[in-house]
Symmetry: C2
Subunit: 554 residues, 2 copies
């Protein structure tokens, strides 16, 4: 049993599942608690019909009275998407850099929670008091402006959380990773480092955003006709590079796709995207401008079905019809799981006559995360006593922990935590002491957490072979079949082509019921109908639809 008199820092890790995971970290010291990031995950293939996935908030909910603040490193969905859902359950001030808070504000308005949240803009260098913690923001280079890391001063010593980062020495908008601050914390003696693991299995260095700027600018200059560039709506710095390239080439910029339009408008408002007068044009002006003077910035780099680029690829965008001579640039890599959708868009754009450039052909995208050599530099600067790899799938966390121990973290002091693990650090050592409630919390429509494994299994079954409902009218006195058996199916066979099978199945069910020696109760009838029907359909089709018997008493 651990001594309760020995003060300790608890770190609880949630999510950490890939590029678009449910990133959330809880730091707790005696009666104070803070949260770093509250992300959402987009559903994986087998999470059928699920809209979004949250981390489990139970641990936070049970300790809501200790919560002193929610600190956000940057404005990507896997770091801020869960904020509205968390704020429905707990109250606490929210801190983040300007753009990050701007994006959270938009979300809260959509959720009609804008008036109930205390949002605070923090500048790099600001230190925020949060009970036993003092939280300091510092800049990092990443694929969205205003990305920050945190130095969290605790009674046990400083904790560094990098957020998502890379070491870009020629970043757009001058957003460097603050190596000096990292070195200072290292000199002071860092208790714990938590660092981005996304590319912990990738050798070398991640190239600079500058490379993409040069490529895009060249493409815009050389293209014979219209240039259509798809990227993430949050890639504001990339948009700035496109605008610069367009302006330099004497082209106009048209923005399409709801989230891109909203983000660019917001970024222009706060001065994060700047352009000479008249460079941005609306749809009417675009129609009057020759193709060779137009650049289109669009959503859809991930092949999202209703995005603007997918509509163009399918020939049903409201304003833009792909023509021979168009150059389409996919300025993004597919997030794992989206490869097929992205490839399909590329193929469809080629079929419509566009020339399509993607990362295999040109340097039109660089990653937003540090590779192994950069991770080593951070370790060398911070030299932490303990290390927790964050932001990555399990294999990335393992690779990052091994890297850390190889370059200086004492053996056994790098902890690969999974969803819900509680690490306790006291004066002498650190160890995983417990596990918080954790796992996927599914959002489907208005329901949060009501989608069970049982429902997902049923949906999977239905998706493979559909269903068959068998309606059996039964005399309420005699329990004998008293009328015509009806069979209803969807997603199983083509009803018109399979009339014979359906008719035969009714006879099979009737036989099964009439040859039964006793049908004392409805339950018995239902089991018998289900078994006979399932067996018959499998024998005839080798498919296994969900069979639901319904007995109607008449």
């Amino acid at each position: 049993m651990r001594r309760m008199t020995n003060p300790s820092l608890r770190v609880v890790a949630f999510g950490g599942l890939g590029d678009i995971g449910r990133n959330m970290a809880v730091l707790e010291y005696e009666d104070d608690m803070i949260i770093v990031d509250v992300g959402i995950m987009f559903p994986e293939e087998e999470m059928l019909g699920v809209d979004l996935v949250l981390p489990d908030f139970s641990y936070v909910r049970e300790r809501a009275h200790k919560l002193r603040g929610i600190f956000l490193t940057h404005g990507h969905e896997d770091h801020i998407g869960g904020v509205p859902y968390l704020l429905r359950e707990v109250k606490a001030p929210v801190y983040g850099a300007k753009l990050t808070i701007g994006l959270v504000e938009v979300k809260l308005r959509e959720h009609r929670l804008a008036n109930e949240a205390a949002l605070n803009v923090a500048e790099p260098g600001d230190v925020i008091d949060a009970g036993a913690f003092q939280v300091e923001f510092f800049t990092v280079a990443h694929s969205i402006p205003d990305s920050c890391g945190l130095v969290i001063h605790t009674p046990m010593g400083p904790v560094v959380h990098t957020g998502d980062f890379k070491l870009d020495h020629t970043p757009v908008m001058d957003q460097h990773t603050d190596l000096i601050r990292l070195g200072q914390v290292g000199a002071e003696g860092c208790l714990l480092l938590m660092a981005d693991s996304t590319y912990a299995d990738t050798e070398g260095y991640t190239p600079s955003e500058e490379l993409v700027g040069v490529s895009l600018s060249n493409i815009i200059h050389k293209a014979p006709g219209r240039v259509i560039i798809a990227t993430f709506a949050s890639q504001i710095a990339r948009v700035q590079q496109i605008v610069d390239g367009a302006a330099a080439a004497g082209r106009k910029v048209f923005v399409t796709g709801r989230s891109m339009e909203n983000n660019v408008a917001m970024a222009r408002q706060i001065g994060y995207v700047q352009a000479p007068d008249g460079v941005f044009i609306g749809v009417d002006e675009m129609r009057k401008t020759p193709n060779s003077q137009v650049v289109v910035v669009t959503t859809g780099s991930q092949g999202e079905p209703t995005s603007a680029l997918t509509r163009m690829a399918n020939g049903d965008h409201r304003h833009i019809q792909i023509e021979k001579g168009d150059t389409v640039v996919i300025s993004a890599n597919p997030i794992p799981g989206n490869e097929t959708a992205v490839s399909r868009n590329v193929d469809n754009l080629f079929k419509q006559g566009a020339h399509v450039l993607y990362n295999r052909l040109e340097n039109v995208h660089v990653r937003g995360h540090a590779s192994r050599e950069e991770l080593k530099i951070v370790q060398g600067l911070v030299q932490p006593e303990y290390f927790i790899p964050v932001q990555g799938e399990y294999r990335h966390l393992v690779a990052h922990a091994a890297l850390a121990e190889a370059v200086g973290v004492p053996e056994g002091n790098a902890f690969v935590l999974t969803d819900g693990d509680i690490l306790e650090i006291d004066e002498e050592h650190a160890r995983v002491v417990d596990h918080a409630p954790s796992g996927y919390v599914y959002i489907d429509g208005l329901g949060i957490g009501d989608i069970t494994q049982h429902i997902l299994r049923d949906r999977a079954h239905l998706s493979r072979d559909g269903f068959v409902v068998v309606i059996v009218p039964v005399d309420r006195e005699t329990s004998q079949v008293a009328g015509v058996i009806e069979v209803l199916s969807r997603g199983f066979v083509d009803i018109d082509d399979s009339e014979a099978v359906i008719e035969e199945s009714k006879r099979v069910v009737l036989d099964a019921l009439t040859t039964a020696s006793h049908l004392a109760e409805i339950g018995g009838i239902n089991t018998r109908v289900k078994d006979a029907m399932s067996k018959f359909l499998y024998d005839r089709t080798r498919r296994k639809p969900m069979v639901l018997p319904v007995t109607v008493e008449v």
Copy 2:
């Protein structure tokens, strides 16, 4: 109108959709026709419940009397998987190299067609008469032994079909691409080249299999414990390299996974996998052998749910329990669409304590297809008058056609054909003259071609939100509701948690029916029930289950 007196060669391309596409080419000259490859495609994500996808055989079926032979380049599923289905419809001799024919034989036995097919083994250099065509086999390097290209001599001139290939100068089992033969055909004057486009958008050269052999051998030598290597069951040469490495390290080899066991047994029988006595061991001997002396060769490199490696990753393989000290090697790249499943296996293996090596970390796999520089060499040797890129998604075909024209094919003579396009080549020129019936033919259970878009749409709908069946008893005389309304749902909400919603929905339906001024006919009742129920459920849950009203007359 084209002159019928002018003899012409017709080429009809089917499939050509990626690495695992429905590759099939038809060549037709007056009254003679041959087929090159008959592949299947594995279903894409939205082809719910579909087992396999075939090319459309209508064109071949209608001209079955002209068919002189089916020629198979190599034994991968995307080139031979459709043979049993085609042979149910047409009769023709089948030709291929030894291993290819061996694999087809296994398939035909499974389909109980072994006695009805004329299978013929062709050696490299063999020339087969097939009506107006003489078909010659030549060796190519690829990821399965006995891969061949074809020189098809036609009255219009020779056609070269590369099959799937790369230029491996240090191949395993001495299987070189026959550059000399390609050059001879080029010297003679080649009418048409059809060549593998899989990596037509990848710069440079594809590395040699030798590289993988060296890596695997090093891993096997250095690993402290058991080494478990997953690869494709058809990668016989890779298996030989593993066996060689194991034998050199004094280790035994255990083979697991049904298709791997079958293929290795077959390959040993025909002498394609060779090992010193006692290297291959069964399960009993494996149990007695120390881990440090064991290599396991397994299926599951693509994360297939029921494969041996996935079972190990999930801790439910019958014979192999992953232990700390195990080294697992994924000696394959994920086929597009399988990335998530593969990553999940890697993560689960790490969680169980294994050290996992995959291609990002070590050279444990090389591609089986030629990159751009190799494709240029083939163009330089063959110098065809016309060119058709095959085996690739649309963007690869476009890239390959552009490459061909850049290095010598006359402009306008490279044809990007899609599924069903008919190219006609006469003495003067070539052009697409028509389009054969084409598209996806789905196999689901015993049904071939009976899965319609309608069924797939229903399955997609069911997979998202499930369904609700509303059973309304109606008096057959008065058309009034005459009894209790029943509601049945699956995949929609958790029934126990949502009892209130379901009960309320019954009242809503009843209200909708009783307030109706006239319910003259059943159709009217059904529409009313469906509308009221759908609206109510959407308002309450923001989900849109499939709603099916059933009226039962009592």
